[in-house]
Structures are given as C-alpha cells and as structure tokens.
C-alpha cells in the first residue's frame, strides 16, 4: 500500500502526516502523532472513548479515516487546557471526583465540551443525552453529570 499525505490542523497547530488509506483517524492520532489521549475501547463507535471534534463536530475518531481529515480542524483532549489553566470541565471533573479509572474521561470531556459549546445551559436530561454516546463503567455517571452541570454554570457566570 502507498501512504497518503494529509494536512490538518490539530489543537490549533498545522500538522502534516502520512497514513495508509485504511487507517482510522484514531490510529493516526495514537500511533503516528503520539496523541494517545483518545482511547480505543471498541473501534465500532459504541463507547466514545476516542471522541474528538472535527470542525467542531463531535466524532468517534475510530469511525473516521485518517485521510478524511484532510483540510479539517481537529480538537482532541490534549488541546483542552489553556497552558497551565485547566478548562472548567477538567477542573470540575477533578473537584467532583467524576472519574475513577479515567479511561473514558478524555472522551467524555471532549463530548461534554461539544455539548456546552452548542448548549451552554443544559438540563440534567440534556446532559445525560449529550453524553449518551460515551460509556463509563466505573462511576454510574452521577458525578459526571454533576461536574458537567457545575462547569456549565461556572462558564455562564464567567
């Protein structure tokens, strides 16, 4: 197989990579670019652990080919904090103990940010449906929902 050259913007930086035609964006991020924050939990788009946004849209990176990202802007968990300052969602996840093992956390944070970007004042139900594509097996979601609601409130005040 011959590799294909792709130019994207990842977390605000221009990134060039080559990948095979059948390689997923998740594999490119993890294996070629060293961005292992996105996790592979299923590779079938069911668990959301590989969530990223592509041009602002929440996506399972295991369902997208690396070559499809040509010309796109991709945001991953690695770009969520602003230098030393954690994103309010990241901070609230820690304050609320909204993670146990932490494997789903990057994907859930990316999904929660995508939700708040479009709906800054979600109800509990809207948070629950907004995160329904992200599986967490440890927490029972209770503290995750609280953390997202609390972060949303703080972000509205800011």
């Amino acid at each position: 197989m011959s590799a294909i050259h792709v130019t994207t913007k990842i977390n605000g930086d221009v990134v060039d990579y080559v990948c095979e035609a059948d390689e997923t964006l998740l594999d490119v991020l993890r294996n070629r670019l060293g961005l292992t924050g996105a996790k592979e939990g299923c590779s079938t788009g069911d668990c959301g652990a590989c969530s990223v946004t592509i041009d602002g849209r929440l996506t399972c990176s295991c369902l997208v080919l690396g070559v499809e990202a040509e010309g796109c802007e991709i945001d991953t968990i690695e770009g969520m904090a602003d230098g030393e300052a954690l994103h309010p969602l990241q901070r609230k996840f820690l304050e609320h103990a909204a993670l146990q093992c932490g494997i789903c956390t990057p994907g859930i944070l990316v999904a929660a940010k995508a939700l708040l970007d479009t709906n800054p004042e979600p109800t509990e139900t809207e948070v629950r449906f907004g995160l329904a594509g992200n599986l967490c097996r440890c927490t029972g979601y209770d503290k995750i929902v609280r953390a997202v609601m609390d972060a949303a409130q703080e972000m509205r005040r800011a």
């Binding site: 967490c136 927490t139 029972g140």
Partner: protein
C-alpha cells in the same frame, strides 16, 4: 485478632474523611495518563492472536509454514511453544490451557496461535495464512444442559468431587459444595408459608472500557520487561514466569494506569503470549485485544440456575431456608458457586439453613472474578423470595428483613458467628430515608434488597521514603483502579501529621517492592491502607530516634505528635518540637535516609452489608424498564475519601442495573457468541439512569486501625434483586430470569394475562 489491637481510634481525623483532589487527576483529565495500550518501544512489533471459531473442537494440526514465509512476520507461537511447566498445579495448568488451546479448543475465541509482525496489517494477513485442522465436537453452553447425563463432556478428567459415592464417569460437574446448619426439613415443617422458586441469570461481562493490553520485551538472556494493564502486576509476573519457565527475578512487570477491571483483570490472557512472541522474535511485542476478543476470550462471569425455598411462620419469622445453586464458569473448573452458596443467606439470622452449589463447566470462556464473585446472582434469587414472603405474611419488605436480619452474635449461613456488623443500621436508615416515603407514579414499583460480601486482606508490602524537604514518597504495589493513591496519601498524611499534598503515592513495579496480591476483594483501602499506616508509624519511630539524637536524649523520651517530634514529658527536657521537615533535613548527619516499611499478610477485613432501594417504571406496551430512583446505603467502616466511596456505591449499583435489565451473553445454536460488541451487549449509558443517591454508614471494622472496611464489591450484590423486586411490583408479575429485557417482561405480562383470562 486484629493486626493493630489498640482500641479503635476515637479521635477526630484531620485529613482522613476529607475530599481532596486525586494525585493522578491532572494526567487523567488532560489525556496524559498512560494506559495499557499507550506504551511504545523501539522496534516494536504488533502481536495478534488467532482464535477458534468453534465452541468445541479437537485441534488435529496447526500449519504455520505459509504464515512464516510472509514478509514482515517475525514470530509465530502455538501450543508447541508452551510446554507444560505447571508441575501438577491444576489451577495453573488451566490457565496455561486457557491462554493457548492444547488438544482441544474449548470455546469460541479460544487462542490457537499468535503472530508478531512489523505492523497490524501484516499480522492480520499472517493469521489468515495459518491453517488449523479442526474436528468439530458437540458443544454445550447452558448450565442446566451441561449437567444432564448425556451432555457433551469437555474434560474426561472431571469426576465430580464432594458427592458420595464419587462417580467413575466423567461429567461437566466439577464439584459439589454444601454449607449450612440446623435441620431444614424440620424447619419447613414448622413453617406456615413456604415459597419455592427457580431463577436463571445470564452471564455478564465486567465491561471495563479498556481492552486488555500489554507490551512485552524479552531478550535472549531471559530477562524481560512487561508493561500491562492489570489489577495485579505481581500476579502477572509470577504467573507468566511459571508458565514460561522463567526466573521470577528476570521478569519486571510495570502496571500501567488501568482502565477498569472489576475482577476481570485478576488473571492473565494475552500476557504470556506476548512474552512468548517477544522471546521468539527478540523484539518488543505489543498485544491489544479488540472489543470482540474481550467479550469472547477474557473472563466474563458465570451464568446460573438457582432454586430457593424459604419457610416462614405467620408472624414473619423465617424457619428454614434452602437453596441449590448451579453456576457454569466456562470451560474450566472454578465458577464462583461456593461464594454464591456461602453468601446466599448471609443477611439472615437463621436456625436452619442449607445452600448447595454445583460448579459446572461449559463451552464458554473461562470465567474471571466479577465484583463480589458469585454473590449477586444468589442475592437475586434469595431476596426475590424474601420479598414475596414478606407480602404473603402481610409485612412490608423492610420490616420483614429487619425482623430476620443477621446481627452481632448471629451464626452466619456459612458458619462463623458475626462480630459487629452493619446490616441492621443500613436497614434502619433505609426505613427512615425519604426515598421510602416518596409517592410512586403510574406503572412504577418499588423494590429493595440487602447484600453481603466477605472482603479480604492479602499479601501487601509498602515502602515510605522521607525526602530531605519533609515531603514523602509512598510506594505501593496494588494498582490504583479507582482513586486508591488518593486514599493512601490521606492515610499517610494522617499518620505523619503532614498535609495531604506533601505525600506522593506511586504504584511501584515488581522489581521495586515486595510481593503484593492483586487489587481485588475490596482489599486495597483496607490492606494497603493498613500497611501504609504501619509504614508511616515505622517512619515516625525512626524520626523520633533521629530527634532524640539531635537533642541528645534517649529515644524513648521522644514521641511523634501532630507532625512533630516532641519530648515525651517534662523530664525528657525542654526542646521545641521538630517538624518532619526539620528532622528530615538532618537525615544525612544522623544516620542516613529515613524510610518506613511494612510487609504482611492482611487479615481481619470485616464483612460488609448494603441495602438498596429502587423505583422502576415498566412500560406495559413495550416491556421497557426505566430506573426512576435509586438509593444505596452501605457500611464503609470508615470512609477515607468519601467521594470515591460514593463512587464505588454508584458504580456498583449501575453495573447491577445493567446486569438486571440488559446485559447478557447470547449464544447461538452453533455455540458462538452473538453479541460480542457494545452495540448488542448494552451496558447502561448516561441517559438510561437517574442520579444514584448514597448513604455512607460508618460502623468501624475492629480489624483496621481507622475502622476501614472494603467497599468496592458489596455494592453490586443487592441491585439485581432490588431491581427485580421493583420491576415485579411495577409489572404485577414476578420476574425470575435476568436480564429483565423488554421481551422477557412482555412474555411475563402476556403469560399473566393469559392466566387471568383463563381464570375468568
């Protein structure tokens, strides 16, 4: 006797019981935390495993010649590469057989061969070129079918143990267990009402989001490194070394961050295979399971079939309780049926009780532990009958349970007499809880259930090093699966009298610390916590000795209090207290580095009880169930970090909700798993659930200096029953099979209607 026989600390804790941020938090919210699949090594190969498509087949021949010739293939291993070094250790031999099939493939997904190649694509191609000649054999996957005399037999070596006379003909029934006391037949004769029912539960998977992953690197000198996501890296080291004929000292295992385990990562699957590939290729090899492989070839829990019979007097006192439990644990001995049998009636004060268990093998993957292994299914069956009996004698379920609850001095159903236990307090708090008084809507029902788990301690080793600036490095050997590093830092800080953030805890690799048992049995906060406390006390003794040296007074004249060495009394001399940092700064001149150690086999874990309340709404049109409200009340002994205790309660409850309502291994007639993915094996998602309310009770465990009890497992014991009771109340018909998926509920409703029409 408890290890620390000093009376329970009555003091107010300074840091234990607070809710600081976890030390591994930043890494986990920024994506920097390194899990099993996140490691790489120079020259790394990709390992892939070929698995049996058949549920039961004799492997006549494996031809790897073509695959070996494929460019980019660096090593192939089959059964021939795993000679038997197990020396008659039957349990170890089963692990060997499970990680790589030998004369037979015993379940769909059983490993048959493995390849290491330069990339994933080549490895996949190589697997296709391996030719396996199978003779397909009849199979059995259902526990009741497997027990029938004409069932296909998996192992001709299994002659049922624990029955008299011992059979001469092999079967799938490995062993019979019996627990209990009194005379159940006499007890039933005294009963006014007897309820007898049969229940079935399907196998479920722990469903950790992180698939098994490891990176192995073995050189021709026999030295190896292994990076792996596991609940116990010392277990991985010892097991792999024994399976592969390596010296334990030559294998260093590092535990990665672990993305969930719940018992499923307490054994080995891919690790010995990755090591064997690496040894053969003389290159690092990474093996990561796909989700399909996780479902088919890791260790789900047992499926069960259970009969329960309980008799009561008219005034609601149980006279006898009897159960027969049949658990299949996959293709090898070792289903957790004995723990099901021991725990089934553990919540009750019973004069006459008997529980019989049968450990059964079938053509399914070898089960692994799953949170309180064996107990949730038994509790489902027993607590369903308890609820039904309560209604029959005209009592509320909670009053019936309070009347019959086990308490201090009760002879438990599995034998020993209980010390101080927390069941009645959870029941009494439940009765007062607003949840019990809240009104129910249409099609809603309320259920409750109690649950029990043993907990245990295990081998533990902890090292605590005092740094020159007065901060502390704490090394533990139990992988942190849900925030235990935070709890360890809290306990070390409490004992040393320094702030929480002055302690940093790490999970040390197997070459840096003595052996530690696996993170399981709800043992870490209890056992590693107790070792941490004792290591801290060891360090404070040394700190006192150093202060004594500095002051020129005898060691006995110095005590450690509030983070400072102080003269023990007015006679010791008048010296201003020295802080940990001040003593540590002079360590070099007073005898060198200051460290505390502790190693022991922890016992005295203390059993644990919980009561759960659940409101469920059943849609009579579709049979779909929604959990409307859920409350967990559990005894934690002492909650070291209450947020993570609540997290354990909530997580266990929600895993139970999945088990009760949706999750099941579905096998086709061909013995193949039909739903090996998260789309068809549906674990609860966020929008399925309400908030999970928690109440932490603290009835101190006399076996721990702070009173800690394990909390991780008990929370999954009551939910199956609590939800079944709620669903049965909502639907107006008793559900006896799990999961209570819409088709099962509709079938039960239709059956009920048909009966009603026939009666009219």
């Amino acid at each position: 006797m408890p290890l620390d026989s000093t009376p329970q600390d009555k003091r107010a804790f300074k840091v234990v019981g607070t809710r600081p941020l976890r030390p591994d938090g930043i890494d986990k919210v920024t994506g920097r935390a390194k899990f099993g699949a996140d490691a790489t090594a120079p020259g790394m190969l990709v390992g892939r495993i070929l698995r049996s498509p058949h549920a039961h087949a004799r492997i006549k021949k494996i031809d790897t010649a073509k695959a070996e010739r494929l460019p980019g293939v660096k090593a192939i291993v089959t059964r021939a590469d795993f000679p038997d070094h197990t020396n008659g250790d039957a349990a170890l031999f089963d692990i060997l057989y499970n990680i790589m099939a030998r004369e037979k493939a015993l379940y769909e997904g059983h490993a048959v061969a493995a390849v290491a190649a330069v990339d994933a694509h080549t490895a996949r191609e190589a697997l296709k070129l391996i030719k396996v000649d199978y003779e397909v054999l009849p199979h059995v996957t259902d526990v009741d079918e497997a027990m029938k005399p004409n069932a296909p037999v998996l192992h001709n070596t299994i002659l049922t143990d624990g029955v008299e006379p011992k059979p001469r003909k092999p079967s799938n029934i490995v062993r019979r267990y019996e627990f209990g006391h009194g005379d159940v037949e006499a007890g039933f004769r005294r009963a006014d009402i007897v309820v007898e029912r049969t229940f079935k539960t399907e196998a479920t998977h722990q469903g950790y989001i992180e698939p098994h992953a490891c990176l192995a690197n073995v050189g021709p000198d026999g030295q190896g490194e292994l990076w792996v996501c596991t609940q116990g890296h010392f277990m991985v080291r010892d097991t792999c070394a024994r399976l592969l004929g390596m010296d334990i000292s030559k294998l260093r295992v590092t535990a990665s961050e672990i993305g969930g385990g719940f018992g499923g990562k307490t054994t080995v699957f891919i690790e010995p295979v990755a090591l064997a590939l690496s040894r053969k290729a003389n290159r690092p090899v990474k093996v990561v399971m796909s989700r399909d492989e996780v479902f088919k070839a890791s260790g789900p829990t047992a499926s069960t079939s259970i009969d329960v019979k309980i008799g009561v007097t008219k005034d609601g006192r149980i006279t006898a309780a009897d159960a027969t439990l049949r658990y299949q644990g996959g293709a090898f001995a070792g289903s957790p049926v004995e723990f099901g049998a021991m725990s089934a009636f553990a919540c009750y004060d019973l004069e006459n009780v008997r529980a019989i268990g049968y450990d059964v093998v079938t053509n399914r993957p070898k089960q692994a532990a799953y949170r309180a292994p064996g107990a949730p299914m038994a509790a489902f069956a027993v607590e369903s009958v308890i609820e039904e009996l309560a209604h029959k004698v005209g009592m509320a379920g909670i009053d019936f349970r309070i009347k019959n609850a086990a308490h201090e001095g009760t002879k438990s159903s599995y034998g020993p007499t209980y010390g101080p236990i927390g069941l009645l307090p959870t029941l009494e708090r439940a009765k007062q809880h607003p949840h019990f008084k809240a009104p129910l809507g249409p099609n809603q029902g309320r259920g409750m259930a109690c649950g029990f788990w043993f907990n245990f301690g295990g081998q533990t080793c902890v090292s605590l090093n005092v740094n020159s600036d007065g901060t502390v490095a704490l090394s533990v050997g139990t992988p942190d699966i849900g925030g235990s590093r935070a709890s360890m830092c809290l306990m070390a800080a409490e004992e040393l009298g320094i702030p929480y953030d002055k302690v940093r805890a790490i999970v040390a690799d197997t070459s840096s610390l003595g052996y530690n048992d696996v993170t399981d049995g709800s043992r870490v906060t209890f056992a590693t916590g107790m070792a941490t406390i004792h290591a801290a006390r060891d360090a404070t003794r040394k700190l006192c000795a150093r202060a004594a040296q500095i002051w020129g007074i005898p060691e006995e004249a110095v005590t450690w209090e509030k983070g400072h060495a102080r003269p023990a009394g007015p006679n010791a001399g008048n010296f201003p207290p020295m802080s940990l940092a001040e003593v540590a700064a002079q360590a070099g001149a007073t005898g060198g580095p200051i460290a505390g150690h502790y190693e022991y086999s922890a016992d005295g874990a203390g059993v644990s009880f919980a009561t759960h309340i659940c409101d469920a709404e059943v849609d009579p049109e579709t049979g779909a169930t929604r959990i409307v409200r859920y409350t967990v009340l559990q005894d934690a002994g002492k909650a070291v970090h209450p947020s993570y205790v609540e997290g354990q309660f909530q997580g266990g409850a929600v895993q139970g909700i999945g088990w009760a309502l949706n999750e099941e291994y579905i096998y086709g007639k061909d013995g193949r798993l039909q739903n090996a993915g998260f789309l068809d094996y549906r674990i609860p998602v966020c929008s399925d659930l309400p908030m999970i309310d928690t109440v932490i009770l603290e009835i101190p465990n006399p076996g721990h200096p702070y009173g800690v009890r394990g909390v991780g497992e008990t929370s999954i014991v009551p939910p199956l029953a609590a939800i079944a009771n709620a669903v049965s109340a909502a639907a107006g018909v008793r559900l006896t099979s799990l999961p209570m998926s819409p088709p099962r509920i509709l079938a039960a409703l239709e059956q009920q209607n048909a009966k009603r029409i026939a009666a009219e």
